[in-house]
């Protein structure tokens, strides 16, 4: 069995095992309603981590996705309150996300600032700008009015229990998978992540590619913001708080290795399902928030521990295989003689 497939099956097996444990020990886990909600929440983190996966595979990191969601969220709410039709709101938020991503990309590719520093700082900047745009009452306090624009609220609805955000997530995951494995752009991103220097020498346009990955990440964050604001019918300053870290954690759990060149969209999908599953299950136990955080942290640790263990095991297996090859060819040549 090939290594990449085995890696995916392990994450999948972990998800199934945890789901079985939660199902056996809690009452309301195996309900259709719970699965629908679970998939909706996974789609929110999942859309972001699809975008982040581009950046990580390309060898960079993006911590600003929380800030971008926050900013796109208020753009959504403002446009919807002005009475813009739903499609325009959607495009507006995605463009806002792209703009944020472009700012990140500009700082990293043109100003040559470290990606970690840029996105850590720009996350603060984006959520700061959001506060300027927030709805305020007469005394200047932030308020979150309900959005009533019918054509916009459609995005938060569902067909037979399948929320639009879930459908969009799965469809986009398939597209992203194909882009990453079948198109020139996707393969260039992978090669850039594996070795920036040698890809630059073989003529891959590094600067433009890097810029594009950040813009794409911004676009996905904008999309996630549209669906979530529409579902909640309002926005607030803390929308997307902590999402930057969670999206990266989801990618890493799914086998998208920090440092670039490894992993694909399925990893991002499995990772986000895993994260949301844990949160959902812990919530069902009715534990105190302290225990919830403790278990969440512990399980993330265990997940990346398994990942590393598997990585080192498959490395050893590869070495063994290459040795076996050498011995094998040695034997054949002997026989031939």
């Amino acid at each position: 069995m090939n290594n990449k497939l085995a890696r995916k099956l392990i994450t999948l097996a972990l998800i199934v095992i945890i789901a079985l444990i939660f199902g056996a020990t809690t009452k309301s886990f195996y309900t259709l309603r719970n699965f629908q909600m679970l998939l909706r929440e996974a789609a929110f983190i999942g859309l972001i981590s699809l975008g982040v996966s581009f950046v990580i595979i390309g060898g960079c990191i993006d911590l600003s996705s929380g800030g971008i969601i926050c900013f796109s969220g208020i753009v959504c709410a403002r446009l919807a309150q002005m009475g813009a039709p739903g499609v325009v709101v959607l495009l507006g938020a995605v463009v806002a996300g792209c703009l944020c991503g472009a700012i990140n990309g500009f700082c990293i590719t043109k100003l040559k600032i470290n990606d970690f520093v840029t996105t850590l700082a720009s996350g603060y900047v984006f959520s700061g700008i959001t506060l300027f745009l927030m709805f305020r009452d007469a005394r200047g306090r932030i308020e979150s009015p309900l959005i009533r624009s019918e054509s916009f609220l459609v995005f938060g609805k569902h067909i037979n229990g399948f929320y639009y955000i879930t459908i969009a997530w799965i469809a986009l995951a398939v597209i992203v998978y194909l882009v990453q494995s079948r198109t020139r752009f996707g393969l260039h991103v992978v090669s850039m992540g594996s070795s920036e220097k040698s890809s630059a020498m073989s003529g891959v346009p590094i600067g433009r590619l890097k810029f594009l990955t950040f813009v794409l990440c911004g676009a996905f964050c904008g999309l996630a913001a549209v669906f979530t604001v529409s579902y909640q019918a309002t926005t607030y300053p803390n929308l997307g708080g902590g999402m930057g870290f969670q999206a990266v954690a989801a990618c890493v759990i799914g086998g998208v290795v920090l440092g670039g060149g490894k992993g694909d969209a399925t990893g991002a999908v499995f990772g986000s399902v895993f994260l949301v599953l844990i949160l959902n299950g812990i919530y069902k136990y009715g534990l105190s928030t302290a225990w919830q955080y403790f278990i969440q942290g512990g399980i993330i640790l265990i997940a990346i521990f398994f990942d590393a263990l598997f990585g080192s095991l498959s490395q050893k297996r590869l070495e063994l295989l290459s040795h076996a090859d050498e011995i094998g060819t040695g034997g054949e040549t002997l026989n031939a003689k």
Binding site: C107, L111, K112, I113, N114, F116, V117, T118, L120, A121, S122, G123, Y124, V125, S127, G128, I129, L131, F132, I142, F245, V248, A249, V252, L258, S288, T289, A290, W291, Q292, Y293, F294, Q296, G297, G298, I300, L301, I304, F305, D307, A308, S312
Partner: protein
């Protein structure tokens, strides 16, 4: 003349002095209160807390790691130290033992972080993020209520944050001592030089015979202990501790470290730079409040200043390279 001017802007200390001169002029015009003793003192308190953490963080960043759990480490150590200082079933209220217990917890946490990074080779960023959650919840479980208060203002614990020696507050003295020790260790000892080597190129360092794993673990221990010390000082200053003590400080400390010119990939950085970073962050927070800018926008201003500072740094570096 022009090249000389840009050369000065390009040099790290030129930038730092220019920046502070600019702030001084702006504050002298708009808010002379900035220069009052009580205000300068409050800035010093903030710098002392951020500075101790940043010096600890410097060690970890130098070996090429990162520690996002320092805010929660400070909260946990403050909660532990404060509960053991009060007389109860577990403790006779000895302050020194309470602090020792809290520091040894920090050492254990540091060892765990170090082993995860050095031996298991897990990404430090995700590991410390996960332990951040766990440490906050441990602090929450440990105190079991919302807050612990320092009731006895007559003991050593109170003195840590509130005593003044020759009218210099104790936290500032602790910070200066800590920074001096850090500077000494990093520049004058073999340990420090090897730490730089291990961070600059782990493989090369281990080929030369440096035990990089040991140095990585040591760096994480120092970082956790520094966080614990600043947590104890903070709780003594505030006379209270809870699991939200020092929440979110890791972001501010990261800014201080990065603005101080420390290379986030490891191997480059100095204590003087980190102290400058802590100064900048402390002064900036204060200026934002004094100028009457809503605290809503303080994050925005901080973010913009960081990007600007780092961009200037990079600009200076490329200028130098072109001249050579």
């Amino acid at each position: 003349m022009k090249t000389k001017f840009f050369g000065l802007i390009g040099s790290a200390w030129g930038q730092r002095i220019t920046f502070f001169a600019a702030i001084m002029i702006v504050m002298a015009i708009f808010q002379p209160v900035f220069f009052s003793w009580s205000n300068l003192l409050s800035i010093l308190f903030a710098i002392a807390i951020y500075g101790i953490m940043a010096c600890g963080m410097l060690f970890v960043v130098l070996v090429g790691g990162i520690d996002f759990s320092i805010g929660s480490m400070a909260a946990l150590s403050a909660c532990i130290a404060l509960t053991f200082t009060s007389h109860n079933a577990y403790s006779d209220g000895s302050v020194i033992i309470a602090i020792l217990i809290s520091l040894s917890v920090a050492i254990v946490v540091g060892v765990i972080h170090g082993l995860f990074d050095a031996v298991l080779k897990l990404p430090a960023f995700v590991v410390t993020l996960a332990t951040q959650y766990m440490l906050y919840s441990l602090a929450d479980m440990h105190i079991g209520s919302k807050y612990v208060h320092l009731t006895d203002t007559n003991n050593l614990y109170y003195a840590i944050g509130n005593l003044k020696v020759f009218s210099i507050p104790m936290p500032v003295i602790i910070f200066i001592v800590f920074a001096a020790i850090t500077a000494f260790v990093l520049t004058k000892t073999t340990f420090g030089r090897r730490l730089y080597a291990a961070g600059g190129n782990r493989r090369a360092a281990s080929l030369v015979g440096i035990n990089t794993k040991l140095y990585t673990v040591c760096a994480y221990i120092i970082c956790a202990v520094a966080a614990a010390i600043s947590g104890i000082v903070l709780s003594s200053m505030n006379l209270t501790a809870s699991y939200v003590t020092a929440r979110g400080y890791e972001g501010t400390v990261m800014m201080a470290v990065v603005v101080g010119g420390v290379n986030i990939m490891g191997g480059q950085g100095s204590v003087s730079g980190v102290i400058f970073g802590a100064l900048l962050v402390g002064v900036l927070n204060n200026v934002i409040i004094l100028l009457g800018i809503s605290t809503d926008y303080s994050e925005l201003v901080q973010g913009v200043v960081i990007v600007a500072a780092v961009a200037l740094n990079v600009y200076g570096a490329t200028k130098k390279r072109r001249i050579i």
